[in-house]
Symmetry: C2
Subunit: 129 residues, 2 copies
DNA sequence: AGCGTAATGATAACCATTATCATTATTATG
DNA sequence: CATAATAATGATAATGGTTATCATTACGCT
């Protein structure tokens, strides 16, 4: 059970075609604009299904969840509060330290999310002048 | 502008009285149970005001925002997906590494949130048997 | 006391997401 | 192949946390 239907394939293709971070509404809009016929509920269910299959990844932000293409390596995010741009980064040491901290507290770590907030170079310059 | 009214004082006292992580509804409920008269909208506004004054801190989780008493030192959170227990931790190196990463990308860091998900000792044991 | 400003409270509105349910598509099986 | 079983779809209602609205009340100040 868990079928890769045409709708889900379309969602997957869309997300795989870029390294954007999409919310459900953007996905629905893009697919409809591209001529597909897909309901918003189907988009939500499709995104959830694809994520559970490990075909796409997601970050849960304050307001909404955003999906991105599955990357081999885990990474974290840096979000510009000025323009909304999302930059990715990964740092092995930070990962290892988290495992140490979890181990110390006898915590069975299953996942984590690190988000850095701030201003990207452009927005910072904009603000300075 | 930004007055510390009786309602806001009550919210602040409640939060300062423990190291729980409260959501807005829990705060409202607790205050009403304690005999106070306060509307839910006032609780939301009060929490936002107190946070902006730096008198309380918050973590934004997927479903809702939770408030805790302001701590001198920044810390991050470890959340048990079994029982919902929230444990705090802080790690200087992780903080420093984030600053380095931001600097490398010319990102003006203003804040961050690191949440580790997993099972606390009790829930892990429960699951194993 | 009186004025300007901010806060309150009830409630409507918002917005992302999930649930419902009848219909349709897909897969499995005799 | 036919058809039964199961899962997915789509429209829409419902949910839940949070914010907006607006008339009323409280506060701070001269």
């Amino acid at each position: 059970m868990q079928r890769l239907t045409v709708q889900r394939q379309a969602i997957l293709d869309l997300i795989n075609a870029s390294n954007r971070h999409w919310d459900a509404d953007e996905v629905a809009r893009a697919l409809v604009d591209a001529g597909a016929s897909i309901g918003i509920a189907t988009v939500y269910r499709g995104l959830a299904a694809l994520e559970s299959l490990g075909l796409i990844d997601s970050i849960q932000l304050a307001d909404k969840k955003r999906y991105e293409r599955a990357d081999k390596a885990h990474h974290d995010h840096m979000i510009c509060t000025g323009c909304g741009h999302i930059e990715e980064f990964s740092h092995e040491t930070i990962e290892v330290l988290q495992q140490q901290i979890a181990a110390e507290k006898a915590f069975r770590l299953t996942g984590h999310q690190l988000v850095m907030f701030g201003l990207c170079r452009d927005c910072a310059e904009e603000l300075d002048r």
